[in-house]
């Protein structure tokens, strides 16, 4: 069993969830309440990873991070090293890949907060930020938690994107799913089975804990008990 790869997977999933919390909350809020026409463009872009093959997404990110793209060049100038085949590059790809799994539950939860509550807060003198942090966010905590956990679990299971962007560097970008693939290629079924079993149990434990915490399923659209 590749413990090193499991560690990389867990760190990557945790870092992705935290980043998505930071990016996803404002993005979800904007998508839930904006009347801007930009929404027609932003919403499909956020949802794109749901339908795009992970290899395509990974390939695009790889090209973008590469030394020949303006984005890659800028990153390299800012940080002093290339992002391709690094943990940072992998993190960036994971954030994009799991974006809808965080933003969608966030936006759904925000939009389901009764508009009269937001209006009441405004009448009581709250700024837009006050309305968000004192009313919308506390009332959306189930949806926010669901988004964080879904993006964590989704990142834990990603394969195609990691393969494209991360390469296969032990301890840096070699995640559990890649390790399993390698073990199978090498006909080491025992190792593959062990790592798989750990992933299955871990994922089940996370979902069970969440289900317990939220008093219901965490799948988007699922009703609470």
């Amino acid at each position: 069993m590749d413990l090193e790869a499991l560690r990389v997977s867990l760190v990557l999933a945790a870092a992705t969830s935290v980043c998505l919390l930071v990016i996803g909350l404002p993005l979800g809020y904007w998508l839930a309440f904006t009347r801007s026409r930009l929404r027609v463009i932003v919403e499909p872009i956020v949802a794109l990873p749901l339908v795009l093959p992970p290899t395509v997404l990974g390939f695009c990110v790889l090209l973008a991070l590469g030394p020949r793209s303006p984005f890659g060049q800028t990153l390299e100038r800012l940080t002093g090293h290339s992002f391709a085949f690094t943990f940072e590059g992998l993190l960036l790809a994971s954030i994009l890949y799991s974006l809808p799994f965080a933003v969608q539950p966030f936006a759904t939860a925000f939009a389901s907060v009764d508009i009269r509550l937001r209006e009441a807060a405004a009448c009581l003198g709250s700024t837009a930020a006050g309305v968000f942090f004192r009313v919308v966010l506390p009332l959306s905590r189930r949806g926010v938690l669901a988004g964080v956990i879904l993006s964590f679990a989704h990142t834990l299971g990603e394969f195609g994107v990691v393969l494209m962007v991360g390469g296969n560097i032990p301890g840096v970008t070699r995640t559990a799913s890649i390790a399993i693939y390698d073990s199978v290629q090498a006909l080491d079924y025992t190792a593959a089975l062990r790592t798989s079993a750990v992933l299955v149990l871990l994922s089940l434990a996370i979902l069970a804990a969440t289900s317990h915490l939220l008093g219901g399923l965490v799948l988007p659209g699922a009703k609470r008990r």
Partner: protein, 353 residues
């Protein structure tokens, strides 16, 4: 001072012009769909008028020409809706404290909860409250934030009859205690009469008539206004005596009336008399008989199959009779008639001094 225009694509359009009292309560009275709530939401800054101007005291909240549209949070309005919008994740005292600064929190919240009579519910969550209790907390929350105007959108209409009566009484006391200008939306006559000082009749997408409530309800100045209020005299009266059989004697501008006892210790009332409940008999009335009033004909209006006779017997009221009855009575302006009103037809609404 308010003059706003708003229209909805494919829907109704409104133009409201009215003046609000500096103190006391202005009632917006009219049927459902007449735009009362829209007007209130425009005052709160929750809906934007297309054109016009809203000025409260010296503060301009909206001016279409000058591009002024003050944000809701800066208008400082206490807004209470039909279904209370309490924050479900906060308990009662945190709800009331929502718009209160930290330094004042403890005193102000306690004071407000006491004023609305729910001091013992401070720790409850909204879902543990009855409808009436929720509305009391909503009122406390609105006033705790020190608004400069209170906007009440049918605050009693979602309550059952018992809770409505009790909150209506308390709301009257509350409005006087906080002495804030208030705008109350309602389509309930009793609520309007019990709580309003002024009334603006809303209909046909505009303000039909505005003035002191008893005047407007007694003397609608147009057919449209009469349609909104119904043809009904509203006479300030005082209970002078009660009988054990459940009747009260009223003094209405010097005229004695008998009506059903409204109960409790109510002494100040509006006596409401519908024109179609008044029966006219020829000749002058015997002075002592119950609810037989000697009245003078002031005006005669032909209204289709019916004739409305404006009468004066010390207070003004109207009788609605058929054309045949009018011919039999041979009425003209200045004639004396006897107007008969059954005691149950005099509807009493409590009022405050």
């Amino acid at each position: 001072m308010i003059d706003v225009t708003k229209s909805f694509p494919g829907g109704p359009s409104f133009r409201f012009e009215l003046n609000l009292r500096d103190t006391g309560t202005t009632v917006l009275f009219g049927p459902s769909g007449s735009g009362k709530t829209t007007l209130l939401r425009m005052l709160a800054g929750l809906d934007r008028p297309h054109l016009g101007r809203i000025q409260i005291g010296d503060d301009v909240w909206f001016d279409g020409e000058r591009g002024i549209d003050v944000a809701t949070r800066l208008r400082r309005v206490g807004y209470v809706t039909q279904e209370s919008a309490l924050f479900p994740h906060l308990n009662v005292s945190d709800n009331v404290a929502f718009g209160v600064g930290a330094e004042e929190r403890v005193t102000r919240v306690g004071e407000m909860l006491k004023l609305v009579g729910v001091a013992d519910l401070a720790e409850r969550r909204p879902h543990e409250l009855s409808g009436g209790q929720k509305q009391r907390v909503s009122l406390a929350r609105a006033v705790a934030a020190k608004p400069r105007i209170l906007l009440l959108d049918e605050p009693l209409s979602a309550l059952d009859a018992a809770a409505r009566d009790s909150l209506r009484r308390d709301l009257g006391r509350f409005l006087r205690a906080v002495s804030l200008p208030a705008v109350l939306v309602t389509h309930d006559r009793a609520e309007a009469l019990a709580l309003g000082d002024d009334v603006a009749l809303i209909g046909e997408g505009r303000v039909l008539q505005q003035g002191p409530i008893a005047d407007v309800f007694s003397r609608p100045d147009s057919v449209a206004a009469a349609r909104v209020v119904g043809i009904e005299a509203v006479i300030p009266a005082r209970v002078t005596s009660r009988t054990p059989e459940g009747l009260v004697t009223l003094d209405a501008s010097g005229v004695s009336l008998t009506a059903l006892d409204p109960g409790a210790a109510i002494t100040l009332v509006f006596a409401c008399i519908r024109a179609d409940e008044v029966i006219l008999e020829p000749g002058a009335a015997p002075s002592s008989a119950r609810n037989r009033l000697a009245a003078t004909v002031k005006a005669i209006h032909q209204e289709g199959a019916l004739v409305r006779i404006d009468l004066d017997c010390g207070f003004a009221f109207s009788a609605s009779i058929t054309r045949a009855a009018e011919r039999e009575l041979n009425l003209s302006e200045g004639s004396l008639v006897c107007a008969v009103i059954k005691a149950p037809a005099i509807h009493l609404v409590p009022r405050e001094a």
